[in-house]
Structures are given as structure tokens and as C-alpha cells.
Symmetry: C2
Subunit: 79 residues, 2 copies
Amino acid sequence: MKARVHVMLKTGVLDPQGEAIRHALGALGFAGVEGVRQGKMIELDLTETDREAAEAAVKAMCDKLLANTVIERYEIELL
Amino acid sequence: MKARVHVMLKTGVLDPQGEAIRHALGALGFAGVEGVRQGKMIELDLTETDREAAEAAVKAMCDKLLANTVIERYEIELL
């Protein structure tokens, strides 16, 4: 089973990388970009075939390693 | 309009960051993880309200700045 995890900074947490992208887009002539946030996407190939067990495992991975839950939120998507 | 861009390394391109995550997950006791690929996710807030124009603009941004199309592929999602 494949899982996709999106890790984003929580709302309100400063995102200098996103801000840098916004500036660069403006400098390249792209008008109308009001805000940019950058996050991570992690794709996992799991041997687990049970949907619920897979989701629980990925949730544990996020809490332990993939996301810093103090400043980041995550979404899990099973494919 | 909001747009979400996923940027991933193309299949076949070595992903040392994903490999490092796979090793770390194994060391933490998570068995059954066969492969990990890490990519970027970029969320854009656009003033453009027309769907087709927004998609064309985001595509241009990806080709010019957000993705290195030699080694990366991207997906655009309009929310």
C-alpha cells in the first residue's frame, strides 16, 4: 500500500522559505501571488495491506519522525 | 484562488533524503517500509479567479522557478 504524507508549517508559524519563493516569483514578473507556503511531501511504500493498520502506522511515523508537531501539521493520504 | 503544487524527483533519480528517512524509520522499529521518496509541496494564494488562467500561470511558475524539470516532475492542484 502507498501512503502520501503532507507536512506543512502550522498557520501563524513564519515560513521564510515560502516568503523567498514569493519574492522570487515577483521578481520574475508573476503578479498576483499573495502568499506562498512551502511544505514537505513524503511518499511511503508499505508492505502492510490493511488500510486501518497502515494509517495507524503512518500516523505513528509522523508523530515520531516525519513531522515536528510543535510547529507542523500533517495530512495522511492512503493511495 | 488557491493552488497546490507537488514537486517530486522523477522515477530513477536517486533520492538520498528519502533513503535517509527509510533508514531512520527502520532504526525506530517501523518494519515494512519498502521505499520512501521525499518531495516538496508549495501552496500558492493567487488573486486570479479564472481557473484556466490560474492553471496556466502556475504551470509557468513551475517551469521557470518551482521545479527543476530535468530531474523533477510536478503536479498542479487547484483548490
